[in-house]
Symmetry: C2
Amino acid sequence: MENLMDLYVHELRDLHNAESQIINALPKMIKAATHDELRNAFEDHFEKTKKQKERLENIFSDLNEEPNDVKCKGIEGIIKESEELLKNDTDSEVLDAVLIASAQRVEHYEMAAYGTARSFAARLGRSHDVRLLQETLDEEGEADYKLTSIAERIVNAEAATA
Amino acid sequence: MENLMDLYVHELRDLHNAESQIINALPKMIKAATHDELRNAFEDHFEKTKKQKERLENIFSDLNEEPNDVKCKGIEGIIKESEELLKNDTDSEVLDAVLIASAQRVEHYEMAAYGTARSFAARLGRSHDVRLLQETLDEEGEADYKLTSIAERIVNAEAATA
């Protein structure tokens, strides 16, 4: 990698692969969730994630680049961690707390990576990309906020008295 | 895992292992950094990270629990990703941008995980733990802000004209 454009394309590929891994993981999380409000939040985020991946594909197309995914090891590790916890003998009372803890790590990884990509796009003068990346960043922030609310209002209280 | 306390201890163990991995990775990042301001930021964060690990050890001691680290696969993946990028033929002009992108992923992982642990501690009525975890959360937020500033003022501009 020689310049910021190379690194920008690399970041976009990392994110595109991250979105694919998340699209693959979310149906399992939807199935595992026990509270309706959490399941609905995951279902909503599943639809948003598919749109976020499309936004990246629009950027690739504008750049005349292919996604050629780079395996996103950060997201892979976070998802593995969560799958191991779900496989363990985790009681149903704490299951949703495990799911939220893992989903918020995923959101935060994306916030960091999309924030980096947006900074690169701004420096490269790609204002249309900046807008698309900011839309996703806003959605990630909202999803994270919603999960904190579900955890603190409902899930953690039940897990504490289990 | 049967209740929120089990999950809280698990989160603390994950974080304790994450801090150990970060303490192991930071000297390599300090060595690789080319801009003085970035190197100083990493050096400062290295000292803070050692204190953050000690805060967790204080919490374990209060809980009469041992760290018994759980391998933190999330941080492991993020660090691996960065090490591969540094091994690749990455030009020195973009090296600092790579280091910052990776460090901000680490900060965000920690923000998510410490935020979860703080919520658990609050629900469990452990107000001293909440204060300790919040101190670390504040430091992570400040470190992230500082890295964005270094990237946007100095590093990305140079990488863009490389």
